[in-house]
């Protein structure tokens, strides 16, 4: 792969370009969820009553708790970048590790939330669910697909940050070159923003 080395060596490093690419990627993520929000808005518009009824089944407390967790993880993520900018490598790593732990906490919560639903017999295709009004089936369908997709993004984000932590430890990410960490951060904040909308739309419409 000499070709590539050769070509790359002459190209300037361009952090702005890297971030621009990341932002563009974030837009595609945004619109990926956007498609789901289209579904949500139309179905909610057509089945307002049933959505109200169904939302009562969700546990607002867990939702609140998870919101707090994600917001805090966003904070630590942002802090880790400032730390590396200030050349405080150890602090940065610490913040990244906290972020990952919070992500795990979020997923553990989610796991319990989903399994309780399953125990109550509410999952796609279950008899309990099928006995409900169509609007409620839609609500839970959306709930599972949207929070599931979001959960998947949390996992991807956590793995990504894990890789960044490794890079930081190995000195790939440094005071002078941290655009990778920034990109991972941007991704993580996006995951947070999605949740900021999911939370009221599913948990707070009682």
């Amino acid at each position: 792969m000499n070709t590539q080395e050769h070509a790359v060596s002459h190209v300037h490093r361009d952090d702005i370009a890297s971030r621009m690419g990341m932002w563009l990627f974030l837009f595609t993520e945004l619109l990926l969820f956007g498609g789901m929000f289209f579904l949500y808005s139309v179905y909610r518009f057509m089945n307002a009553e049933e959505f109200h009824v169904a939302a009562k089944e969700l546990n607002t407390l867990i939702g609140c708790f998870n919101t707090a967790i994600l917001l805090t993880s966003s904070l630590t993520m942002a802090l880790s970048i400032t730390a590396i900018q200030k050349d405080n490598k150890r602090l940065s790593i610490l913040f990244q590790v906290i972020t990952i732990s919070l992500a795990l906490g979020f997923m553990v919560n989610k796991y319990f939330e989903w399994t309780t639903k399953f125990d109550h017999g509410i999952y796609p295709g279950s008899d309990t669910l099928l006995a409900k009004e169509p609007g409620e089936i839609l609500f839970f369908g959306l709930y599972y697909v949207m929070t599931g997709l979001h959960g998947l993004h949390v996992v991807i984000g956590a793995v990504l940050i894990g890789v960044m932590t490794r890079f930081t430890i190995k000195g790939v990410i440094t005071k002078d070159s941290f655009v990778k960490l920034e990109a991972a951060g941007l991704y993580w904040h996006l995951v947070d923003i999605i949740w900021i909308f999911l939370f009221p739309l599913f948990y707070l419409i009682t």
Binding site: M1, T3, Q4, L24, L31, G35, F38, Y43, P134, V145
Partner: protein, 550 residues
């Protein structure tokens, strides 16, 4: 158009010769050089493409007479689905950006590569994976999808064929397309040569840029929509299933929110190519540079607002019908502006009728027919009659094949000599053009007539009264394919036998690719040029006036 700094060391090996460490195939499939990736795309595209063409040919054979001719209805349904999927996702959408965009976009803006070379290579891998997945699904038990390329629910959720496979292939291809898009947006923003302000960019860059935005913003919607079909088939969540309260029409909305903008992903780059070719062979400046540039942006912007014109018979509200119909008409205006400006560019030119110009003019004619019949379909009352008939089939072949397809042919005749340093036989190219042109119209024009008379699309069998049109159409397909064979034989033979081209500027163009050696060296430019002039100035035309001033 450029000042100094164009002195290129003649001994620099071309990108074709430069091998690096890897040898043979490896030096290609691991290369992150945008030119090599362009060629990779070209080869894989041609491969997938020939499968699509064969399917098209087989469909025409089946339809040569009513009743069964060569296949059963199930096979026919699978074949037109795969034909549509291949042509759309593997040919016209990636076609120009991935092949010619990759090769020429960096050169045209005076850069050494795209912004993210490795992502660029990755997107080719995705492309090939998706393509193979789509095509190999024929071999699975149960067969490939039989839903039409639109995958409408509830049928796509209920049919026993391997819809998930095809849908997943389309998902991967979408991802590949997104990566190309974000690469191009970033490249255009960050890597233009010094002095190349927005209005000094060649017009094809404007098209690629506008296209890239559509790719980035619209593609994820189809991604999630297709993913939902898979989820629906696996888990029966019921998001679209009418039995569980879902709304099949909402699926159609989501599908077209992407797939209408996608038609502009297909046509915009082709329009860019035409805007490059016409001034070069008319030997004069382009007419209305800014209008053409802004109309690209206009198409990209307004193109996102008209999707529901594919759904005029589903029972939308009257307000919806009104809004989407009127927006559909407005989006035609930027295309009209382009057509008028191209025509005006021929005025008082010194026209050199070389093969690329043949194809460019063919493009304008066929695209105009396609576009104008689009207006028929946008007219509500007429749409009711022609929706889902072969009128639509004719329309989209005129725009996609007559438009984008001929755009690709034009690009091949214009740029292949630059890419490989070999010239094809001009006479054979012109012969091929006439075969293609006549075959094309014979093949597709009858479809307009029978569509208006009520011949529905996706029909394996048909009433005897439509026989004559189908017959003519099938004969057209033979003429067309003859043209294809002549054209490709000519092009491929040129790579092996024909004369070697070494001059930089084969056609007398003024954009950057003509200032560098043929074929281009690995790094395109020895020194990044500084741009001082607009493209397509053709200063020599203005000499007399300068003398008068003296």
């Amino acid at each position: 158009m450029t000042s100094d700094a164009m002195v290129v060391n003649g001994k620099e090996p071309s990108y074709l010769e430069y091998r690096g460490k890897g040898k043979g195939l490896k030096s290609w499939i691991f290369s992150t050089d945008h030119k090599r990736i362009g060629i990779l795309y070209l080869c894989s595209l041609l491969l997938f493409y020939s499968v699509g063409v064969i399917f098209g040919f087989l469909m025409r054979l089946e339809l040569i007479a009513p009743g069964r001719t060569i296949m059963d209805p199930q096979t026919y349904n699978q074949i037109f689905t795969l034909h549509g999927v291949i042509m759309i996702f593997l040919f016209v959408i990636p076609g120009i950006p991935a092949v010619f965009g990759n090769f020429f976009l960096p050169i045209l803006i005076g850069a050494k590569d795209v912004a993210f070379p490795r992502i660029n290579l990755f997107s080719w891998y995705l492309f090939v994976t998706g393509g193979l997945l789509a095509i190999l699904s024929i071999t699975l038990p149960g067969g490939s999808a039989d839903t039409g390329w639109t995958f409408y629910v509830p049928y796509s959720v209920r049919t026993g064929t391997n819809v998930i496979f095809t849908v997943f292939a389309a998902f991967i291809l979408g991802f590949s397309s997104i990566l190309t898009g974000l690469n191009f947006v970033t490249t255009v923003h960050r890597m233009r040569a010094p002095g190349m302000s927005w209005f000094k960019m060649p017009l094809s860059i404007w098209s690629f840029y506008a296209t890239a935005w559509v790719q980035v913003l619209a593609t994820p919607i189809i991604g999630i929509t297709l993913l939902l079909i898979a989820i629906e088939r696996w888990f029966g969540v019921g998001l679209f299933d009418p039995a569980l309260g879902g709304d099949p029409v909402l699926y159609q909305h989501l599908f077209w929110i992407y797939s209408h903008p996608a038609v502009y992903i297909m046509i915009l780059p082709a329009m860019g190519i035409i805007s490059e070719i016409i001034p070069v062979f008319a030997r004069r400046s382009i007419f209305g540079y800014k209008f053409i540039a802004f109309s690209s942006i206009g198409i990209a912007l307004f193109g996102s607002l008209v999707w529901a014109h594919h759904m005029f018979t589903v029972g939308m509200s009257d307000t919806g019908m009104f809004v989407f119909s009127i927006l559909t008409f407005l989006v035609a205006i930027p295309s009209a502006i382009k057509v008028f400006n191209w025509t005006a560019t021929l005025y008082k030119g010194s026209i050199d009728l070389k093969p690329p110009l043949y194809f460019a003019l063919g493009f304008i004619f066929l695209f105009s027919i396609g576009g104008l019949t689009g207006l028929f379909q946008g007219t509500l009352a007429i749409n009711i009659q022609v929706h889902d008939t072969s009128f639509i089939v004719a329309h989209f072949h005129y725009v996609m094949f007559g438009g984008t397809g001929f755009g690709i042919f034009a690009a091949m005749h214009y740029w292949l000599p630059k890419m490989f340093g070999r010239m094809y036989n001009h006479k054979a190219a012109k012969t091929a053009f006439w075969f293609l042109f006549i075959g094309f119209n014979t093949l597709y024009f009858p479809m307009f007539i029978m569509g208006w008379l009520g011949m529905p699309r996706r029909y394996y069998d048909y009433l005897p009264e439509f026989h004559i049109y189908h017959l003519i159409s099938t004969i057209g397909s033979w003429i067309l394919i003859t043209g294809l064979i002549i054209m490709f034989t000519n092009l491929i033979r040129s790579l092996r036998k024909r004369e070697v081209v070494t001059e930089n500027n084969i056609w007398g163009g003024e954009t950057l690719e003509w200032q560098i050696p043929t074929p281009p060296p690995l790094e395109n430019f020895e020194h990044i040029p500084t741009i001082t002039e607009k493209p397509y100035e053709y200063k020599q035309n203005e000499e007399p006036e300068l003398e008068e001033i003296k």
